[in-house]
């Protein structure tokens, strides 16, 4: 029993030992398994990461090439693709007082020294304002737009606190060129004044902003117009000037300038009276430039059939009012002479014969009773004379008809006049002016105002005014310019002011087949040495056209030719020699 017990005890001890061994083995296996699982997990993780890096790297952040190059605001170009406005990452000057670490002075030199150096680089900067900003120690813009060369100069000052972040801003490479057409974009990115405001939805639309929007403007013609207007303004010490070049057939505005102008690149300075567009927003009594319109209406209506008929040219008494001419042109004048010498008396008589209804209808057909037709947001409402009767539609009084015939008592924008002259010379079709480039095959719907034969007569008469009459200084050799002067006294308190004039020259060229209408207007030109002591359009506005047309003609496809001209041989025998307004 004992031995049995002993052997059993030994057996039990063995079993226990075997159990221990077994347990130990199991534990080891489990641990090995865990380690293996860990290794496998690590390997798998590494493989997955490799695969992820290898297969899917950069996928989420990929952007297409087109998207990356899409400007924040669409480009505006002229008709030949020259950029007039574009989104551009330009430098700005940022003051970061913490650039040299917390505490201590933000600048190496004193704020006064830095401000003085900055004024040396940017002469238009305000010294006191700069000093105040640098002393305040708050991060702020010191200047919104900095040229790269100026940025280099500022960098050379050795101030780490002056930084040059590049920011996408609206940039106008041509400076103040066509400022009134383009307008400007404020710091919040909103367009104002011109096409920037009109085109805003399109310029910001991701689907469209990648392609530039072409305007009808020709930058070269625009430059020439602004240059010549500026020169004319300086020579005559005028308060302002306005000019427009219009395609006579399509109504496209080739150039539009209002002086003095503003610089759209400095949008912070642009909110002032200079943004008023004299061409489309301000209304003026444009005086004698209306006479060809009256004569055309009279020819169209059959009131003027014989150009040799003579009308008395002595002052005309209508009630208490007397219509008189600037000079004494003798006892009588015929129609060509009346235009050449710019006779108010004869034009008034013809208008009287024509009657208020016909003249009023013509003026309405030319759009003189409503705001000018153009895309610009600022369009002035004309001062349209009230009818003689109670209702708004009643005809004008006799005197109103007579004064309107020579451009008084009605105030319109120069753009109205340009569109009317286009209709006068292009065969009689009035079309709205547009700032979009127009495909010649898809011209805007026009309306016939004059017969084609009337238009042909007017072309002859306008050419005669430049050859023999008041527009002689506009006669650019070979360009067959035709046009009419207009010098209207500005109304002031207590009637018209003798010395404050609006001098206008409305022209078209080449007269044998008119392509372009040019309107030039000077606001209150003074009598100076350059204008031979004269104030009237013949001496100040007409020479501007005479200098402008040779500059723009060849660029716009009008080749000067001294051998071509509109045939005026049937009318020239009717004209004597003399001087007019």
């Amino acid at each position: 029993m004992n031995s049995l017990t002993a052997s059993a005890a030994i057996a039990t001890g063995r079993v226990q030992l075997a159990n221990v061994r077994h347990t130990a083995l199991n534990t080891a296996r489990v641990r090995a398994l865990w380690i293996m699982v860990l290794f496998i997990f690590a390997t798998l993780t590494a493989c997955v990461r490799i695969a992820q890096l290898g297969l899917f790297e950069q996928t989420p952040e990929r952007t297409s090439l087109a998207e990356a190059l899409l400007p924040s605001r669409g480009e505006i170009t002229d008709r030949n693709g020259i950029a007039l406005a574009r989104a551009f990452a330009s430098y700005s000057l940022w003051f970061n007082p913490k650039a040299m670490g917390e505490g201590g002075a933000p600048l190496v030199k004193t704020p006064e020294e830095v401000a003085r150096a900055l004024v040396g680089i940017f002469p238009d900067a305000d010294y006191a304002d700069l000093v105040a900003r640098l002393k305040a120690g708050k991060p702020c813009y010191l200047r919104r737009r900095v040229l790269p060369e100026d940025a280099n100069k500022v960098f050379a000052l050795g101030e780490p606190a002056l930084e040059f972040p590049r920011e996408e801003q609206r940039f106008y490479p041509q400076g103040s060129l066509a400022a009134h057409v383009l307008g400007f974009v404020d710091e919040a990115g909103k367009g104002h004044v011109g096409m920037e405001e009109v085109l805003e939805p399109r310029l910001l639309d991701p689907a469209h902003r990648g392609t530039p929007t072409a305007l009808s403007i020709d930058a070269r013609a625009q430059g020439a117009l602004e240059d010549e207007l500026g020169r004319g303004m300086l020579e005559t010490s005028a308060k302002g000037a306005a000019g427009v070049i219009l395609d006579a057939d399509s109504g496209e505005v080739i150039a539009l300038a209002s002086l003095p102008s503003f610089n759209p690149n400095r949008s912070d300075l642009a909110f002032n009276y200079l943004v008023t567009n004299r061409v489309s927003n301000d209304v003026y009594e444009l005086g004698s430039t209306f006479k060809p319109i009256t004569i055309a209406a009279a020819i169209d209506a059959g009131v003027v059939t014989d150009f040799s008929t003579r009308y008395p040219a002595v002052p005309l008494q209508i009630g208490k009012f007397t219509i008189h001419d600037s000079h004494d042109f003798g006892a009588s004048l015929n129609v060509p002479e009346a235009l050449i010498h710019s006779s108010n008396v004869v034009t008034a008589q013809i208008a009287d014969k024509l009657g208020p209804a016909a003249l009023r209808r013509t003026m309405m057909q030319l759009g003189m009773n409503e705001r000018p037709k153009i895309e610009l947001p600022a369009r002035g409402r004309p001062l349209w004379p009230r009818g003689g009767g109670q209702s708004a539609d009643s005809d004008w009084a006799r005197l109103t008809t007579m004064t309107v015939s020579y451009g008084h008592g009605i105030a319109v924008t120069p753009l109205h006049l340009a569109s009317a002259y286009a209709a006068l010379v292009n065969g009689g079709i009035w079309r709205p002016a547009t700032l979009y480039k127009v495909d010649p095959a898809h011209l805007a719907q026009g309306r016939r105002v004059f017969q084609a034969s009337t238009s042909a007569r007017i072309r002859q008469l306008l050419r005669m005014i430049v050859v023999d009459g008041t527009g002689r200084k506009a006669d650019a050799p070979g360009f067959r310019v035709g046009g009419k002067t207009g010098s209207a006294e500005k109304p002031g308190s207590g009637g018209y002011r003798k010395t404050s004039l609006i001098a206008t020259f409305a022209a078209a060229f080449p007269m044998d087949k008119p392509r372009y209408v040019v309107i030039v207007m000077l606001d209150e030109p003074q009598a100076t040495q350059q204008t031979s002591g004269q104030r009237t359009a013949a001496w100040n506005a007409a020479p501007i056209v005479g200098r402008l047309v040779p500059r723009i003609g060849p660029m716009l496809g009008v080749v000067p030719d001294a051998h071509h001209d509109v045939d005026i041989s049937d009318l020239s025998p009717l004209v004597g020699s003399g001087e007019g307004e």
Binding site: L55, L65, L177, G223, G478, V559, A562
Partner: protein
């Protein structure tokens, strides 16, 4: 044995699978590497385009209309061309020629112009109204023999338009002279006096217009006026026909060069 063979086969399959998987992996990696390279290049393109736009804008800003005007006022002083600087047709050019004086040498007629250019010259547009009327029935009768074709007028108008369009190119054309040519062109080359040549060329323009008219007056030859300027190579088909009408002109050219010597 069977077991081991099966095992080998399955191991083989697994190995093949692994190799394929590895190859796919390598391919995928390479594709992706290329893709990121493309992406990098795109980024580079974007950066370069932006840089280009930047430079373009800078140039445009520096050369804006107002700046150009200032430079012109100070430096260049260019003015707009006047009416006298434009020529609208050959007649206006010919009007610059001086009338022949008694001792003027006869014009040198160089018969070595390129065929294509000469054909474009469309000389029939220079034919006066009368000559054209004479020439027209002949062309028409020639046409009547074959298929009745529309009158030559539209074609003539097209020629004229073409001739006007490339007037500048033709005026600027330099006619090459051959050194060892057997034709009249070669003999004309013997005249080495440059000034005399220039003078003769001017006179020649006026004369060629004149001869053109005379030639046009002769029935049947009016339409072939281009030949007066065309080199007549025997091998060239279009010129071969006009060779006859060239001869008198070529002779006068030879005479001209002799008298110049």
């Amino acid at each position: 044995m069977m077991v081991s063979a099966n095992r080998f086969r399955s191991i083989g399959w697994i190995a093949l699978l692994l190799v394929c998987a590895a190859l796919v992996m390598v391919l995928a990696f390479r594709v992706n590497a290329l893709r990121s390279q493309v992406h990098r290049t795109e980024l580079q393109i974007v950066a370069l385009r932006k840089e280009k736009l930047y430079l373009e804008t800078e140039v445009e800003t520096r050369a804006n209309q107002q700046q150009l005007k200032l430079w012109n006022d100070v430096e260049f002083g260019y003015v707009a061309p006047t009416a006298g600087q434009y020529l609208s047709n050959e007649r206006q050019l010919a009007a610059f020629a001086k009338p022949d004086s008694p001792d003027t040498p006869a014009p040198i007629r160089v018969a070595s112009a390129d065929d294509s250019v000469a054909a474009e010259a469309a000389f029939p547009s220079v034919i006066s109204g009368l000559a054209a009327e004479i020439a027209a029935p002949i062309t028409r009768s020639a046409d009547d023999e074959g298929n009745a074709k529309p009158a030559a007028k539209p074609a003539d108008a097209a020629d004229r338009a073409k001739a006007t369009a490339n007037l500048g190119a033709r005026l600027a054309m330099v006619t090459p002279l051959k050194k060892d040519g057997k034709d009249s062109g070669g003999k004309a080359k013997t005249d080495k006096d440059e000034k005399a040549k220039d003078g003769d060329k001017k006179a020649g323009l006026a004369k060629s217009a004149k001869t053109a008219k005379e030639e046009a007056a002769k029935p049947g030859k009016g339409a072939k006026l281009a030949a007066g300027k065309t080199e007549t190579k025997p091998g060239k088909a279009p010129a071969a026909k006009s060779a006859k009408s060239t001869k008198p002109a070529a002779k006068s050219a030879m005479g001209g060069s002799k008298s110049a010597q």
